[in-house]
Symmetry: C3
Subunit: 268 residues, 3 copies
Amino acid sequence: MERTAKVNAAPPDRDQIAAAARALGAFRDGAFRIHCLTNMAAAAFTADVLLALGARPSLTHAPAEVEHFSSSADALLVNLGTLDEDRISGFTRAVAVMNKRRAPWVLDPVLCDRSRPRRALALELLGLKPAIIRLNQGELRSLTGGAENDAAGALAREHGVTVIVTGERDFVTDGERAARIGSGHAFMDRGTAFGCAGAAVTAACAGIGQAPFEAAVSSLLIFNRAGAITGRAAAGPGSFRPLFLDALFHMTASDLSTADFHNIEAAS
Amino acid sequence: MERTAKVNAAPPDRDQIAAAARALGAFRDGAFRIHCLTNMAAAAFTADVLLALGARPSLTHAPAEVEHFSSSADALLVNLGTLDEDRISGFTRAVAVMNKRRAPWVLDPVLCDRSRPRRALALELLGLKPAIIRLNQGELRSLTGGAENDAAGALAREHGVTVIVTGERDFVTDGERAARIGSGHAFMDRGTAFGCAGAAVTAACAGIGQAPFEAAVSSLLIFNRAGAITGRAAAGPGSFRPLFLDALFHMTASDLSTADFHNIEAAS
Amino acid sequence: MERTAKVNAAPPDRDQIAAAARALGAFRDGAFRIHCLTNMAAAAFTADVLLALGARPSLTHAPAEVEHFSSSADALLVNLGTLDEDRISGFTRAVAVMNKRRAPWVLDPVLCDRSRPRRALALELLGLKPAIIRLNQGELRSLTGGAENDAAGALAREHGVTVIVTGERDFVTDGERAARIGSGHAFMDRGTAFGCAGAAVTAACAGIGQAPFEAAVSSLLIFNRAGAITGRAAAGPGSFRPLFLDALFHMTASDLSTADFHNIEAAS
């Protein structure tokens, strides 16, 4: 991954870990509101993840209401899973509100490599300037026309967006800086909606006022570290899910600074 | 809370506890059908809660079908979360069937304080005479015009509805009588849809034939007591959820009569 | 049940158990794509079940996208729960794609005995030739006009479909052959969406190339055996669900061949 962005991707440094720790504290103290336009398989778990951290999720996508919710939200998540006409209409309205307020939103173009209309919608939304986009290699390839080399960095520079590319290690770039973060635990790929919920935590970190690159790194540090902790206790991908929420709830700054998680050669 | 209703709110008495115990037995023996028009984040958990108790949930909201399901349901839940046009149309049709059959329904105006159209819909539905409404302080304030004093009691008297106000302790009034019930456990606020599922249990208690005030108290005794039991075993809000369903499944009459739960000064 | 099909229903034999074991291996190696048009209460758990086995679920029902997902899916599930207009339109489009590709799809007419329009839709979809239909006794009765005797076998012969009838034991027939399989554990009836997710596993077994009767038997062997294993460890229907996913994840061929599960007189 590092090479593809043509920027030097490093493990998170002390400042980034401190920023993630500040995010943990802010969630617990601040009652931040994160509005999540997400798919029906991810809705409950996404809300649970935000609540475990102390943030306040809302989920409504109805065109008549989405502006009301967006106008009092600290950040917005736009997830393209299980699309329907209502949700598409809701996206545009919610994004317009956030952009007008200069409030951050995160785009998660789930499975845009499986459907041409979804790919077109993802590109249209990318043009509306999300703070951060989160995607996997297949989705990145479908949006950037096939080239993997420098794809994430180029996407970041072209759209002024921070890009998270998930994979064996997660990779973050804003086109200039880059970081790589251990992806947590393999069970996160064997249960639905972990990626979707991770993007909601990214929105939450942006919602407390962290700049896009910082918010992306903070959220991955928190989310993936919770996965690594949980992986030591879970017997399988089913018991992993409730224990993961427990880990988010109990996470402390000292959990984030553990060195072996950041020496991530063996992670996931 | 007690003062706001200008009625004397007492902990549940022996008769109320006996009524809750009868409800537990009825669910297990009676195959009661509870139709739940609820939001996408609450659907699965709401069904799981009813199934754990022995009731039979259904969830369809499509306008073409909702009358068929309502006409054979023992009670109906109307929850305003994640609204869309289909669900709004479904509400009106389902409520009309229940009212014609003189069968009970419960209104849960989730987050009506966050959206003007939702507040208007909540007021419209309140005019259609639910047996019971369940809301938190913010939602109560949005529906009653700002005054907290006597708000719940006045709402109850004006609409002939039993009002449940959730909070640090839950409060029930029909405008004349009032009761307060320990709210169970703080983890119920750190996972999504506990309130929504609690309202479904209230509908279920009404569905077995308990009068609205009695049904409201019974359901809170069952639901919150399960929360208190679970709170002693759960390591966090994630493991709380499956253990809560286990607690509902195994709950007995003797679990309900434990005195220290009703001396609720320290609850939650 | 055996009598109703007028065919000799036997416990699964060595060949059927070997086919189920091959399915387990194929899921883990093959990255098979199963598109699930399912209800909102079942979506997350259905995806979790497929992911635990190693298959790749997708869930989109939007008319504009469902053909794109179906055209690259190895199998399709059509589940009639929580219907709406979008989903109905999505069904027809997705089924047309699968039929044109001669790819298998499974019909789960959830609660078609509770709603006349849903029963009509189930019959219409049955006419479009699913490989397999899965229903319970009440649903079977509503589709076959009331006669229980030979209902499943007659349905199978009339429509050229393999029929799974769930109950105290599950029953499979293609009109000529029949098998009965222990139903796993009673907790599967005390949590939502176990039947829906089981039908998705049936679709997955068809998606790896097993013929309909074989796929139906394989999927029930895998799914119900996981239930029986889980039932020995779970304290209630809540803890059952995560442990069930763990059991699917860890299931081996030797788990399937345990004799006492197939001497099913005492099962469930």
